[in-house]
């Protein structure tokens, strides 16, 4: 009882102190973000482009390619002053290839009032949990790597009933539908393969790709010698190789990443089955050749766009990437990430130009950016960048590469049309 | 002459529960000393502490002139202190012979070991008959014999026997007790822990009665055998 007043006093004191901390934190946020000057009023504002990809763990080599591909695009834009008065920054978050983590990153990016749009993610499964979050916030999301057709064309795309589920979602990578079909066409008509064994890794990308290849190849009149599925992380494929040997297939099509296909091709050739292995852009990587060694010779991979090495812009990108000593693998999706980020940067300029050279309030800016990105039209480092009514890239240019003399060599480039 | 084993104010605890609360006693070479008492009196704890399986929180144990407190169990064995644990604890999946050989684990004199194995078979002929059999197949009494034989294999200066008669039929118990008498007559020093006070007291030179962690009463075996209180409490007479 005699403590009563003192208790109250201390309570008030504590509450006061805590309130003080709240004020402190609020002003800190402002100060931190305003490092380079106060936003909105002055000549120079800072905008952040978010990146979501697996930056640690198993897929991180590819994921870091996304991050630093975007980073180089942002550096280029800043040094060339592509958007006068705006300095771009990258905020890269690690989704660890997990959907729930990707979603947390999406909400974090949406909450950050400096983030204008996002590049990513790598995995289609992660994209599913993020799309709606960005759609609700009217924020553009451009994936340089998702290939699952469902993401842009809805569930029934195969039957021709295409519905775009989210108008904020775009991608600079082409869908499995194109790649798988193009590969089947090449295998049947150019390579004259008639009896193909199809294996996939049971991941969204690989299984989708393999299914489309299989369907197209069969419809062309080819025979499917057999199918099987592997688990990511498997290392022993000897039983599978024996099965393939018995099927007398003349080619193996693999839907999946190079982590598994480099082992499969080695064990295939060692098992005396000298047939080529063909895959998608998931194994179009120098790592594949390096690790598989001689066994890779003659293997094939499809990839989107024209060969990166033929475009001068891409050469600069590769040079910049190497010069900065960035970690990660730029080969597979780095170029698309660069183009995705550039599409966002160009759209920011469009939005600002339409608004008298000033950026509208963030909510408004994000919404307007969706329309601007939809109208994107420029030549990127991995080909022409523009989006169709589903948010898919219109760049249907595909190339088949074959391993010759220890390097991927383009053997056919073309446009796939159904 | 100092005693072979000297225990001074030994205290042992499990966590905060003190199981042995400062006991002192000694064993002279050639003697049979017994600790008797009810379940939970701290007898087994005392033996486990002497052989190093438990660490005391206080007190001092001297064996053959050496302080035991910082010595791990396997080194204590090498000093000549053998412990045949409560519940026998033979190695069930090894043969009888392998069990006996393990008893001589620290010895390097193969001829002597062979001789002692034979001596064990003489002491317990049943073991000799079944030497290649897995020890787990023996009956309780036979396992007890094996445990004793195994403890003797290290040529101990002091043999500690923990409840050798536990769970045995009266005939088996008789056999075990007569073996102890025989060992005593051969000059083996024995520290015997028993619940069967009658048997233990009748063959002991010295005896100590333990109750909840302390020594309540000490004397010669015969003295205690005739002590009024002991008779009432431990020998079931009123």
């Amino acid at each position: 009882m005699r403590h009563r007043s003192l208790l109250l006093l201390t309570t008030v004191l504590t509450t006061g102190a805590l309130t003080l901390t709240a004020c402190g934190s609020r002003s800190d946020d402002g100060k931190k973000s305003g490092d380079d000057g106060s936003s909105g009023t002055g000549s120079n504002i800072t905008l952040t482009i978010g990146v979501d990809a697996p930056l640690t763990g198993q897929n991180s080599a590819t994921g870091l390619g996304l991050q630093y591909g975007t980073q180089i695009a942002v550096d280029d834009a800043n040094s060339k002053k592509l958007v006068p008065g705006v300095t771009f920054k990258v905020k890269a978050l690690d989704d660890k290839a997990l959907p729930a983590t990707g979603q947390q990153n999406a909400t974090a990016l949406v909450q950050d009032s400096n983030v204008i749009a996002t590049v990513g993610p790598l995995n289609s499964g992660v994209a599913e949990s993020m799309q709606q979050v960005f759609a609700t916030a009217n924020m553009v999301e451009i994936s340089p790597a998702n290939t699952n057709p469902d993401l842009t064309q809805g569930k029934d795309w195969a039957s021709g009933k295409k519905v775009r589920p989210f108008k904020t979602y775009f991608r600079t990578a082409t869908t499995d539908a194109n790649q798988g079909g193009f590969a089947a066409d090449y295998a049947y008509n150019t390579l004259k393969k008639k009896n193909v064994f199809v294996v996939d890794d049971k991941q969204a990308y690989g299984a989708g790709l393999a299914a489309i290849f299989k369907g197209k190849f069969a419809s062309l009149g080819g025979k499917i010698a057999g199918t099987d599925h592997v688990n990511t992380g498997d290392t022993d494929y000897s039983a599978l190789v024996t099965k393939i040997k018995q099927s007398h297939a003349d080619m193996l099509y693999y839907g999946g990443q190079y982590d598994e296909s480099e082992l499969i091709t080695k064990q295939l050739k060692a098992g005396g089955v000298n047939i080529p292995l063909m895959g998608g852009d998931g194994m179009y990587s120098d790592t594949y050749i390096k690790t598989a060694g001689k066994a890779a010779t003659g293997d094939l991979a499809t990839s989107v766009g024209v060969p990166v090495s033929t475009l001068p812009a891409a050469q600069n990108f590769i040079k910049a990437y190497k010069a900065k000593g960035y970690p990660g693998d730029y080969g597979t999706y780095g170029g698309y990430s660069y183009d995705a980020a550039t599409a966002i940067i160009n759209a920011v300029k469009t939005v600002m130009d339409a608004n008298g050279g000033k950026l509208p309030a963030m909510n408004d800016a994000r919404a307007k950016l969706v329309d601007a990105v939809q109208k994107t039209d420029f030549d990127g480092i991995a080909g022409h960048v523009s989006f169709d009514q589903y948010g898919d890239t219109t760049n249907k240019q595909l190339t088949v590469y074959q391993v010759k003399n220890g390097a991927w060599t383009a053997v056919k480039s073309g446009v796939y049309s159904g | 002459m100092t005693a072979l084993l000297e225990v001074e104010d030994l205290r042992v605890a499990y966590g905060k529960i003190e199981a042995v609360k400062g006991i002192s006693f000694s064993v002279e070479a050639g003697q049979v000393v017994t600790l008797i008492g009810t379940n939970g009196a701290g007898k087994t704890t005392t033996l486990r502490t002497l052989s190093g399986l438990l660490k005391p929180i206080g007190g001092r144990v001297t064996f053959d002139g050496k302080v035991l407190s910082r010595i791990p169990p396997h080194k204590i064995v090498s000093l000549g202190l053998a412990h045949s644990p409560e519940g026998r604890h033979i190695f069930p999946r090894l043969t009888i012979e392998q069990n006996l050989l393990l008893g001589a684990f620290l010895r390097r004199d193969s001829a002597g070991i062979t001789r002692d194995v034979e001596r064990a078979y003489e002491l317990f002929p049943i073991l000799g008959e079944r030497r290649k059999q897995a020890a787990g197949t023996l009956s309780g009494g036979e396992q007890q014999m094996l445990a004793m034989g195994r403890a003797l294999m290290s040529q101990p200066k002091l043999l500690m026997l923990d409840e050798p008669s536990m769970g045995l039929s009266p005939i088996m118990m008789q056999k075990i007790m007569s073996t102890i008498v025989e060992l005593r007559s051969q000059g083996t020093t024995i520290l015997l822990v028993e619940q069967n006070a009658q048997a233990a007291l009748s063959l002991a030179d010295h005896a100590h009665v333990m109750e909840i962690g302390t020594i309540k009463l000490s004397g010669t075996g015969q003295d205690l055998l005739h002590d009024e209180g002991v008779r009432k409490t431990y020998l079931g007479e009123d």
Partner: protein
Amino acid sequence: MTDIPLTEPLQPTPLGTTHPDAARSDSFVTLPPGVARIATLVGVAGTIVSTFMSWTYTSAFPGDLTVNGYPGGLQVLTLIGAILTGLVALGAFGVKGLTWLVPNRSPNAVLLLAAGTFATTWYAVIAIAQELGGLANLNPGGFVAAVASLVLLVGTLGLPIDRQPLDPSGAEYYELGRLSENGPARGTYRWLRQARLNHGELPVPDPARAPAWVQYLTIVVVAAAGVKVLTYGLATGYTELFIGYLILVVFTLWAFIAAGLTRQFSKITADHRPFAALMGVVAAVAYPFVQNNEHWANLGVNILIFGTVALGLNIVVGLTGLLDLGYVAFLGVGAYAAALVSGSQYSIWSGVEFPFWAAALTGMAASLVFGVLIGAPTLRLRGDYLAIVTLGFGEIFRIAVNNLDGVSGPKVTNGPNGISQIPDLSVFGYNLGDPHQFGSITLGRFANYYLLMLVITVIVVLVFTRASDSRIGRSWIAIREDETAATAMGINGFRVKLIAFALGASLAGLAGTVSAHVTYSVVPNPYQFSGAAPPNSAFLLAAVVLGGMGTVSGPVLGAALLYIVPEKLGFLQRYELFAFGVTLILIMRFRPEGIIPNRRRKLEFHQDEALLPAQQALGDGTAALGKAGA
């Protein structure tokens, strides 16, 4: 060991039964008592003053510590630390009216707070010097802060600190192994042992004697402060501030323990359990209103989901002692079941849309069925076999849902693409997907789900506590402690274990139903044994063990840490998982009972400390194994 009743609850035995020497008060630095007190107060004052000065001239260091006149960033933390230290010091010195802050009058609390203030301040100063490149970047304020906090620390070191009794001069340190023969090692170890603080058993006044309204008010204030401290930590905008915050919070909590405040508080909560629980819930409900940020609400939902699953696992592991290494599969079963009946167009029953209560029951029922299916054949086996079978089941689940897409298996789960575009839940006509206005505060989608999940968590906590206090709960504990003895007492071990397994599974399934809706999609790959982020079976076990087995708050706290720490310590990046692994090892080594120990458990873990474990441990280990196993 057989003759010692280890499981008997221990009475707080008076000191001196095991240790001959009584506890002591002894300062670390020899100072005249008056000088120590004055140094302490001077240090407090100096530190407070320093926070109103500029610490560095450039705003390049986050938080802008250049301003004279009012504190910012890390300075605020130093200020709070200093004020608290000052108040507690005055309380410990017996200044009337503040003594309630230090009920046991121990200066240990002052020392710990001073150490926290010192650590935070010096961390800030060193961070400035390091990030900006050199001490030259410090303004006078920074030096004042460093010196004043050092004075403060030294002053408190001179106070008569309550410490562990001196070891007897001939004490043996068996735990050092071979080093125990080594003089310097022994000396150091001895010094460290004797340096340990000892405030756990100092008497404190019984708070029950205070008027009831004070007790209620205390609970309210603590709950409010808890929310405030938590939200402040979450809102820290940059890593340096978060680390400073973490240092200060840890030391402050430790100081409150040292002061005896936590003991009093736990007495109060024990006396007013329903009210305390209510306030806990109110605080949790307040969270999305106070921290009105969709990202943190999203994190909050995930923490609650994960924490709820961990609570379910706690029944299996913590109470019943069954080792389940594939527990995340039950979360997956619930999530998939809910997704299938959610009305998603990707579900094989795309027309079917259950209301939430029915979907939740479906998820629970599905998990329950799987729990029984796994448990019935395996719970009769020895404990270690259960571990491998559950691990196998977890793998089977993930591979199976990955394959059941009509191509490599029957069409059920849509394979690796999973079931996506799961519609938002609607509860009482209230669509959780839409933001809702509450006065001036808008609750977004994740805040809605947070509140829904909170209701479920509360239900699960109730189920957990009711179950553990009931007959069946006592049977679980009996089984955990000694299955043979429990069976001998007439407990049907198999049935009791199966109930634990099934109950734990259905709670996880319930959480799964919400998680399916929160993430819009269910895909197979999160349901693995170990991964880089929660949820996975290894992280679930870690949450239970880190937090404290057998308790309610432990797993929830563990879950929160597993989400918040990686979120906040982003700078660790690729070292994060390595650090996590090392942390697990260290925690198991030094605090195996978890952060919030169950009283009984704690005894079990530390019982052999007094026994000096080095040699004895082996035999004890197998005994413990047998206990937990079977």
